[in-house]
Amino acid sequence: MLVNQFLMLGAVLFCIGVYGVIARRNAVLVLMSIELILNSVNINLLAFALRNGSADGHTFALYVIAVAAAEVGVGLAMVLLVYRNRKSIALDELAEMKG
């Protein structure tokens, strides 16, 4: 079974995604990094579903994909909004409020 390899892949993707979220200043890149994490989750789910032989994982993965799409939609809309108001999507400039 390739389950372990899939899980490793999932873990690696997860780490890459986390790194992206933490390190990237560009909002869109951060969004994409989050997508990476979600995909790592999907891989995990599918791998486990294969190993366990149940359909739940697949179902879950489908939900995740759907919700992720919605999320990205909202996310991009927001980034657009910010861009319209600030002409920039650099996240570290978004620090009006702090402390």
């Binding site: 989750v41 486990f48 359909a55 879950f60 108001n85 978004l94 009006e96």
Partner: protein
């Protein structure tokens, strides 16, 4: 491989599940309300947009009716979809809480929106959607449905936070909330995927049974990641960072909604997961929640002390209150403590909702006059708006936990639960909590000091006009705070939820 999978699916004959429509009635009413609101908003002219707000409130009140009828029916334990969606006492109480809290949010939003000329129809749609997500959350007993419910309530909330499109702060609030929220839910999802792998099921009860055996590092990791997802939602330190910025930037009614309903939803999910999925893994989550709780109440408190913006202060206060709500969960796994811990959480949530919504109602009413969010702008409120000042006093005292105002009983129940464990960890967190409850008065008292003892900052002592909707909201929350404080017996049995905590009683 795929074939084997398909054979598994094919092996069991597809049986259309019997659906208990009575049990789903609140959700159905809400969904219908959402659609109607959207449609009415689409097809009415600008001048008739005011119709939408009453519609939204009616749909909420309409959704409340079935909650009551189910509660009054003989069967208050209804399992749907193989136990993935459960309507029991716990969920009913919580649903009632969400719906009523939503109703109050609608009340305090109405005039705010009309005067701000914000996109009314969509607002109501999003609020109702989010509430629907919360209502679903209360019944979800499956990883998938929990996840869906969570996103259902979160995504509209992200948009609501950024509602004032031209306002940079609102944008910032939305973006921060969104990015961190999605990040946290991604981490949680990762944990869920691991859980699924371990238990080979997304059903919480199955997971619970699987986790009763020996703990491994991967299991612990899964549990931790899931908890973190909800800890973000309840803005527990150190996953709280979004809260102050979002609360400050978001429109005030939205902040009220986030700090009460959204937070409550997070706790509901956390409680569900802990009680149903992890009852036998208390070795893992108890210390985690203990630390979260201590950090949350302490950091929230000390940071709140330094705030000058009222809403931001409320954000930290809300973080700190979250710490108190977490407190009983930190020992929920000990013996029979689970039941009293659950009761404490539920009761605390109710009292906190009533009080905090009241505070926001006043904030909206006062900000309408002063056009400022600074705590100092409340100076001398007592001299020109004694009624509001008195109510604010009641709410602040309730948040500070001073009898006989609502909040005290929440704290009391929390302490009671913690101490009933009779463990050293329990005593320790109780003492820390006690000290924190004193520190908290530092900032609540500061507000009272402004209101009662300071001069009016700009000398403008024109009375504050209170719109009817706000007045109703204030009435509901004020009476609730007072009555629940003096006669806590009324709510306390709502927390007596045997079904959910059954895992602990045996």
């Amino acid at each position: 491989m795929l074939s084997s999978l398909l054979s598994v699916v094919a092996a069991s004959d597809w049986v259309s599940p019997t659906i208990d429509y009575h049990a789903l009635a609140p959700e159905i009413v809400l969904a219908a309300g959402i659609v109607i609101v959207l449609l009415v908003d689409l097809f009415t002219s600008e001048t008739n947009k005011w119709l939408v707000a009453p519609l939204a409130s009616f749909s909420l009140l309409g959704a409340f009716i079935p909650v009551v009828t189910i509660a009054l029916s003989d069967n208050t334990m209804r399992e749907l979809f193989d136990g993935r969606y459960v309507v029991d006492e716990f969920s009913l109480v919580i649903k009632g809480l969400f719906i009523l809290a939503g109703y109050v949010v609608v009340l305090i939003s109405t005039d705010y929106l009309r005067e701000g000329d914000y996109y009314q129809g969509e607002y109501w749609f999003l609020v109702l959607t989010s509430i629907l997500g919360m209502v679903m959350m209360a019944s979800s007993r499956d990883l998938v449905s929990i996840f869906v419910a969570l996103e259902f309530l979160s995504i509209p909330a992200y948009m609501l936070a950024a509602w004032r499109k031209r306002d940079l702060k609102s944008n910032e609030a939305g973006v921060k909330y969104y990015l961190l929220g999605v990040f946290a839910s991604a981490i949680m999802l990762y944990g869920m995927s691991l859980l699924y792998g371990i238990a080979n099921s997304t059903l919480l009860t199955d997971i619970g049974e699987t986790l009763s055996s020996e703990m491994t590092s991967i299991r612990a990791l899964a549990i931790l990641f899931v908890i973190i997802g909800f800890a973000f939602k309840v803005s527990a330190v150190p996953f709280h960072t979004w809260a102050p910025d979002t609360y400050e930037g978001a429109p005030t009614p939205v902040t009220a909604f986030l700090s009460v309903a959204s937070k409550a939803a997070g706790f509901v999910a956390l409680v569900t997961v802990i009680y149903v999925a992890f009852p036998y893994a208390s070795d893992v989550w108890q210390p985690v929640i203990w630390i979260l709780s201590v950090l949350t109440m302490t950091v929230g408190n000390v940071l709140a002390l330094r705030q000058t913006n009222f809403v931001r202060m409320l954000a930290y206060s809300s973080i700190s209150q979250g710490g108190f709500i977490l407190m009983p969960l930190a020992v929920a796994g000990e013996g029979t403590t689970g039941q009293s811990a659950l009761r404490a959480v539920v009761v605390y949530l109710m009292l906190y909702a009533a009080t905090n919504l009241g505070v926001f109602a006043i904030v909206i009413a006062v900000a309408r006059k002063t056009r400022s969010g600074a705590i100092a702008s409340y100076g001398g409120l007592f001299s020109y708006a004694p009624g509001l000042a008195a109510l604010m006093t009641i709410f602040m005292a309730s948040l500070a936990g001073i009898p006989p105002l609502g909040g005290w009983f929440g704290k009391f129940a929390a302490f009671q639960a913690v101490l009933s464990a009779e463990t050293n960890w329990g005593y320790a967190i109780a003492v820390i909590g006690a000290v924190n409850s004193v520190v908290a008065f530092g900032y609540y008292g500061n507000v009272l000091r402004e209101i009662w003892m300071r001069p009016v900052p700009d000398g403008d002592t024109a009375p504050v006009v209170i719109q009817p909707a706000i007045a109703v909201a204030l009435g509901i929350t004020g009476v609730a705070t007072l009555v629940l404080g003096t006669l806590p017996g009324i709510v306390s049995h709502f927390g007596d939820l045997a079904s959910l905590s059954s895992a602990f009683s045996g």
